[in-house]
C-alpha cells in the first residue's frame, strides 16, 4: 500500500481527489452515512464534494426507510431473544436455576405460635451448588449427599452442609469416582449407599456402599454382590437394603461382611412364617412347582412338561405384575416395603437378626391405596391417595351411586337394575337419554352432560398421611405420645388453588410436607412436656402474690398470739387461777415461768402447724394452678386443626423477589435442606376469609336508588318511608314523598328506606332489595 501511495504521489494524479468530481461523488454514494461523514472531514476538497451528498443522503427517503427497518429489525431480534430466553427458562429453567438452601434444624416449632417461631430462622444458600442442577439433598448422620440431574452426586462428610459442599466443589474431593452416574443415593447414620448403572440410560444398576472407616474417613465404594440389578436402596443405622428388579429385597451389614441376604415373608413369598422365622405353612403351589421342576429335570425330553412350565412362568409373570416393589425406606429398627399395588410390609430389625429377616404386612393399612412412604429414625409416614376413576371405568353400582348424588334418583335405580355402566352413560346421546334414562327435559340433559364432563378424568379425592412410631418431639404431627397403630395426621390447609401434597420427608425430630406448587410445611421439635409449656414465671408470680398476702396474715397472727400471751399473763397476774383453761397455776411462782415457757412452746407448735398447713395449702394451690394452666394449654393444643408450621417464606423470601419454588426437601439432624428452582407458572391463592370480606359488593348509594325509584315507577313512592338522622332529635321517620318535597336535608343522612315497614335499603346493615344495576 505504501509503495502504491508513494507512486501515486509521484504521479500526482491517482489520489481519490484527482478523480473528477462526479466520480468522487459516485464513490461516496456507495458509502453508508457515517462513512461519508468521515470522508468529508478529510479535506476541503472532499468536504465540498461530500457535503451536499451527506445532507441529501440524510434526507433521502430510502435511507430513512432503511434506518427504520434496521431499528425494527433490532427490536424484532430483541423480542426474539427475549422469547427465546423465556422459552429457555420454560424448558430448562427448572434445572438451571436450582439452588440449595439450608436452615438449622434446631429450630423449635410450636404449632400454637405458628409462624411466629420462624422469625429467627435464617435460610443460608449453598453457593457452591449453584447451577449444578441439584435434584435432591440427602442428609445423613455422618455424610451428606447431593444428587444432580445429570447423575453426578456430591458427597461431603461435614456436618454443616454449606462448608462441606464448599470443600467438595473447590477442591474436588469427591468420594464417588468421577464419571459415575448415580440413580439413587441414601445416607444412613454412618454409611452411604447408592446405585450406579452400567449404562447411563438404564434406570437399574448395581448397589455400592461407602462406609465410615475407623479413621473417621469415607471408604472407597464397595460393590455389593446382589445377583439381580437394583432399583432402590436405603440405609439405616446398621443395615442397608436394596430392592431388585425381580422385586426381592436384600439386606446387608456394611460393617460386617457386606454379604447380602434375602428378606423373607414379602409379597412374592407364598410361605408363611412364625415369629422365629420358621416356615409354618408351605404354599402348596410352590411345592407342586418344585415337584414339576424335578420331574422336568428327570424327563427333559418330554415336551409337554416344557409347555406346562412355560404356562406356569407366564402365570407367574401375571401374578408378579401386582407385586412390584415401589419403594423401600428404613429407620432404626424397621424396614418398610411398599408395593405398587399399595400394599405395605414391615420388617422389624434387631441387632441379632443377622441372616433372617421376615416381613409382615401392615395390617392396619391394608386395603388403603398407599402411594408413598418415608421414614426416619423412629417414625414413618405413609401417604394415601384415594383415586376416583373416570366414568368410563365405572360398573353399574358406581354409576347408580353417582346418579343419586347428582340428583337423578330415578336413573340411579335404572342403572342399578338394568346394569348400566359408566361407559354407556358416557357415550349417551339424546335418544339414549330420552328412551332409556327417561330424561326428557333438555335442561336436565344439559345438566347431565355437564356432570359427565366433570367426572371424565381420574381425580384424586382424599390425600391422607398416616403416621406411626415415636412422637417424642411431635414429629408425627400428632398430639399423642406414640402412634402404636398408624394414625391419620391432620393436614394444614393449602394456600394455593388446585394444589396437592407431592412429597414429604421425615427427619429425626420433624416431618415435612411439600406441595406441588412449592409450599412447605414442617412439624415437630415441640415437646409434649406440658409442665414446660405452662408459663412457669406466670405461675410463680401468682404464687408470690399469694405468699405475700399469707405472710402478712402470719405476721398478724403472730402479733395476735403475743397479745394473747401478754393478755393471758396479765390475766394470770390478776387472776392467777384460770389460765386459758389448761391448768391451774399459781401466780408469781416458778410454776408461772414454767407455764409461760409451756405457752410459748404451745404457740410455736401451733405456728408450725399453721405453717405446714399453709405450705400444704400452697402446694395444693400450685398444683391446682398448674393443672388449670396445663388444661388450658392442652385444650389449646387439642383445638389445633393441625400441628404444621408454614416454612415456605423462610426459604423463598429473597431481596430480589425472585419467584422461587421449593422442589425438594430433606430433613437432616443438623440442617433442613431444600432444593429450589425458578417458578415458572402462575399460582392462584385460595381465597381466605379476609379476601372475601373485601370482595363484598358495594352498596348502591341512596341518591341512585331514589332517582331510579322516581324513574322506573316500578314502585309507588307513597309506599315508602325513610329514617334519617336529625342533628338534634336523632333518628326521625318521615314519608318519602314529604321528605323529597319539603326537606333540604342532605341525602347521605338517610339511614333506612322502608316499604310498608319492610326494610328495603339500609346503610348500616348493607341491605339493598332493589338491586338496580
Amino acid at each position: 500500500m505504501e509503495d502504491s501511495s508513494q507512486r501515486e504521489s509521484q504521479c500526482g494524479c491517482h489520489s481519490l481527489e484527482m478523480l473528477p468530481c462526479e466520480l468522487q461523488e459516485m464513490v461516496l454514494s456507495y458509502l453508508p452515512h457515517p462513512d461519508v461523514f468521515n470522508v468529508i472531514q478529510c479535506s476541503h476538497n472532499m468536504y465540498d464534494i461530500g457535503r451536499d451528498l451527506y445532507r441529501n443522503k440524510f434526507f433521502d427517503k430510502e435511507y430513512h426507510v432503511m434506518k427504520l427497518k434496521k431499528k425494527q429489525g433490532i427490536r424484532q431480534l430483541k423480542e426474539e431473544y427475549i422469547r427465546n430466553r423465556f422459552n429457555f427458562i420454560k424448558e430448562y429453567g427448572d434445572v438451571r436455576t436450582r439452588v440449595v438452601k439450608t436452615v438449622k434444624a434446631s429450630i423449635k416449632l410450636d404449632p400454637i405460635e405458628g409462624k411466629k417461631c420462624l422469625e429467627e430462622a435464617k435460610a443460608i444458600q449453598i453457593d457452591s451448588l449453584h447451577r449444578k442442577g441439584a435434584f435432591s439433598t440427602h442428609c445423613g448422620g455422618f455424610a451428606n449427599a447431593v444428587q444432580c440431574f445429570d447423575g453426578t452426586a456430591y458427597l461431603t462428610k461435614e456436618h454443616a452442609l454449606d462448608f462441606g459442599f464448599h470443600e467438595v466443589m473447590n477442591e474436588s474431593i469427591n468420594y464417588i469416582p468421577e464419571g459415575t452416574c448415580v440413580i439413587q443415593i441414601d445416607c444412613g447414620s454412618t454409611d452411604i449407599v447408592y446405585i450406579s448403572p452400567e449404562d447411563k440410560k438404564e434406570s437399574y444398576g448395581y448397589a455400592y456402599t461407602i462406609k465410615r472407616t475407623e479413621e473417621n474417613e469415607l471408604s472407597a465404594p464397595i460393590l455389593i454382590d446382589i445377583p439381580e440389578k437394583v432399583k432402590w436402596v436405603c440405609a439405616s443405622v446398621s443395615h442397608q437394603f436394596a430392592a431388585t428388579i425381580d422385586d426381592r429385597v436384600y439386606c446387608w451389614l456394611p460393617h460386617a461382611d457386606c454379604k447380602p441376604f434375602e428378606i423373607k415373608g414379602l409379597f412374592n413369598d407364598d410361605n408363611e412364617y412364625d415369629e422365629d422365622g420358621v416356615v409354618i405353612k408351605e404354599d402348596t403351589k410352590t411345592s407342586e412347582k418344585e415337584d414339576e421342576e424335578l420331574s422336568i429335570q428327570q424327563q427333559l425330553a418330554k415336551s409337554t412338561h416344557e409347555e406346562k412350565k412355560r404356562q406356569l412362568q407366564e402365570q407367574e409373570k401375571l401374578d408378579r405384575k401386582e407385586k412390584i416393589v415401589h419403594k423401600i425406606v428404613c429407620g432404626n429398627h424397621f424396614l418398610l416395603v411398599l408395593y405398587k399395588s399399595g400394599e405395605l410390609f414391615n420388617v422389624s430389625i434387631n441387632e441379632n437378626s443377622d441372616s433372617h429377616l421376615i416381613a409382615r404386612r401392615v395390617q392396619e393399612l391394608e386395603g388403603k391405596n398407599i402411594m408413598d412412604i418415608e421414614a426416619s429414625f423412629t417414625h414413618w409416614i405413609a401417604f394415601e391417595k384415594t383415586e376416583i376413576k373416570p366414568i368410563t371405568e365405572w360398573d353399574n353400582m358406581q354409576t347408580s351411586e353417582w346418579f343419586k348424588r347428582i340428583g337423578f334418583d330415578q336413573c340411579g335405580n335404572l342403572a342399578k337394575y338394568h346394569n348400566i355402566e359408566g361407559k354407556t352413560v358416557y357415550n349417551a346421546d339424546e335418544d339414549y337419554m330420552e328412551d332409556v334414562l327417561g330424561i326428557l327435559d333438555p335442561v336436565d340433559q344439559q345438566k347431565l352432560r355437564y356432570e359427565i364432563n366433570q367426572v371424565r378424568e381420574t381425580k384424586y379425592k382424599d390425600i391422607n398421611l398416616y403416621g406411626y412410631g415415636a412422637n417424642y418431639y411431635g414429629q408425627l404431627g400428632l398430639f399423642d405420645k406414640h402412634a402404636s397403630i398408624p394414625k391419620k395426621i391432620p393436614l394444614p390447609p393449602l394456600s394455593y388453588k388446585d394444589d396437592y401434597i407431592l412429597r414429604f420427608a421425615c427427619g429425626r425430630r420433624n416431618t415435612a410436607i411439600l406441595t406441588k406448587k412449592g409450599e412447605l410445611w414442617i412439624c415437630g421439635h415441640c415437646r409434649h412436656d406440658l409442665k414446660k409449656k405452662v408459663n412457669k414465671e406466670k405461675v410463680n408470680k401468682e404464687m408470690d402474690k399469694d405468699d405475700n398476702s399469707s405472710s402478712d396474715e402470719e405476721k398478724k397472727t403472730v402479733k395476735k398470739t403475743k397479745k394473747e400471751i401478754l393478755k393471758a399473763a396479765g390475766k394470770g397476774k390478776k387472776a392467777g387461777k384460770k389460765m386459758h383453761g389448761h391448768k391451774n397455776v399459781k401466780f408469781g411462782s416458778e410454776q408461772f415461768e414454767d407455764y409461760l415457757e409451756e405457752l410459748e412452746e404451745d404457740n410455736s407448735r401451733k405456728k408450725n402447724f399453721r405453717k405446714t398447713r399453709h405450705s400444704k395449702h400452697k402446694h395444693n394451690r400450685k398444683t391446682q394452678y398448674m393443672r388449670e394452666e396445663k388444661k388450658k394449654v392442652y385444650d389449646k393444643e387439642m383445638s389445633l386443626d393441625h400441628r404444621f408450621v408454614n416454612f415456605t417464606d423462610v426459604f423463598t423470601k429473597n431481596e430480589k423477589n425472585i419467584p422461587y419454588k421449593i422442589c425438594n426437601v430433606s430433613l437432616g439432624i443438623m440442617d433442613f435442606a431444600v432444593v429450589m428452582a425458578y417458578r415458572n407458572e402462575k399460582i392462584e391463592k385460595v381465597a381466605t376469609k379476609g379476601d372475601k370480606l373485601k370482595e363484598k359488593k358495594k352498596l348502591c348509594t341512596i341518591d341512585k336508588i331514589l332517582t331510579q325509584l322516581q324513574k322506573t315507577r316500578k314502585f309507588d313512592i307513597d309506599d315508602f318511608t325513610i329514617n334519617y338522622i336529625d342533628r338534634f332529635s336523632g333518628i326521625v321517620e318521615v314519608q318519602l314523598r314529604k321528605f323529597l318535597k319539603s326537606s333540604d336535608i342532605p341525602l347521605h343522612r338517610i339511614q333506612t328506606l322502608k316499604k310498608d315497614m319492610e326494610v328495603y335499603w339500609d346503610k348500616k346493615d348493607r341491605i339493598d332489595l332493589f338491586q338496580f344495576n
Partner: protein, 162 residues
C-alpha cells in the same frame, strides 16, 4: 458474422475486438453508429494495459451479467455482494483501479464504473478520518477550527439519527 472493431490505444497500438463486446461502451457505440465498423477508433485517454483490462471485463459481463450494486454498501467485502470474479477483477493496485475508473468514465461503461467505484467505497467504509487520508493520500488542508466547524455544522444530522 461478428464484425471486428479496431481500437487504438494511447500508445498507438491496435487492438481488434468483437463489435458486440465493445458495444457496452456508450462512447464506442456512438462512434460506430456515426462512422461504421471499418474505421479505427482512437482512444487517446486509455493506455493499452487498461484497455485490455476493460475489454476483459466487457467479455466477461456478456456471459455473466452483473446486478446493480445496492447503495449504500452492506458489507466492506465485495465478495458478499457480487460474484467472485468481479471482486478479483477489481482487486488490483490502487493506481490501476483509479485508471480503470477514469477509463470507464471516459468510455462510459456504466457497470464497470459502478463496480470500480464500489470497490473504492469498500476501501473507505468503516475507516476513520485519518485512515481514509492515509489510504488515499489526501492532504489535510483543514484547520482545526474548520474541522470543528464541520463537526458542528453536521451535528444535528447525527443527533437526528440517534
Amino acid at each position: 458474422m461478428s464484425t471486428m472493431v479496431k481500437l487504438i490505444s494511447q500508445e498507438g497500438e491496435i487492438i481488434e475486438v468483437d463489435q458486440e463486446t465493445v458495444m457496452l461502451s456508450v462512447l464506442i457505440k456512438s462512434m460506430i453508429d456515426d462512422s461504421g465498423t471499418e474505421e479505427d477508433i482512437p482512444l487517446p485517454n486509455v493506455s493499452k494495459s487498461i484497455l485490455e483490462k476493460v475489454l476483459e471485463f466487457c467479455k466477461h459481463i456478456k456471459e455473466h451479467p452483473l446486478q446493480e450494486i445496492e447503495k449504500p454498501l452492506k458489507s466492506a467485502n465485495l465478495r458478499d455482494i457480487i460474484p467472485e470474479w468481479y471482486d478479483d477483477f477489481v482487486d488490483v493496485e490502487q493506481e490501476t483501479l483509479f485508471e480503470v475508473i477514469l477509463a470507464a468514465n471516459y468510455l462510459d461503461i456504466k457497470p464497470l464504473l459502478e463496480l470500480a467505484c464500489a470497490k473504492v467505497a469498500t476501501m473507505v467504509k468503516g475507516k476513520s478520518v485519518l485512515d481514509v487520508r492515509k489510504t488515499f493520500n489526501i492532504e489535510n488542508d483543514l484547520t482545526p477550527e474548520e474541522e470543528a466547524q464541520i463537526l458542528e455544522e453536521n451535528k444535528w444530522a447525527e443527533e437526528a439519527i440517534q
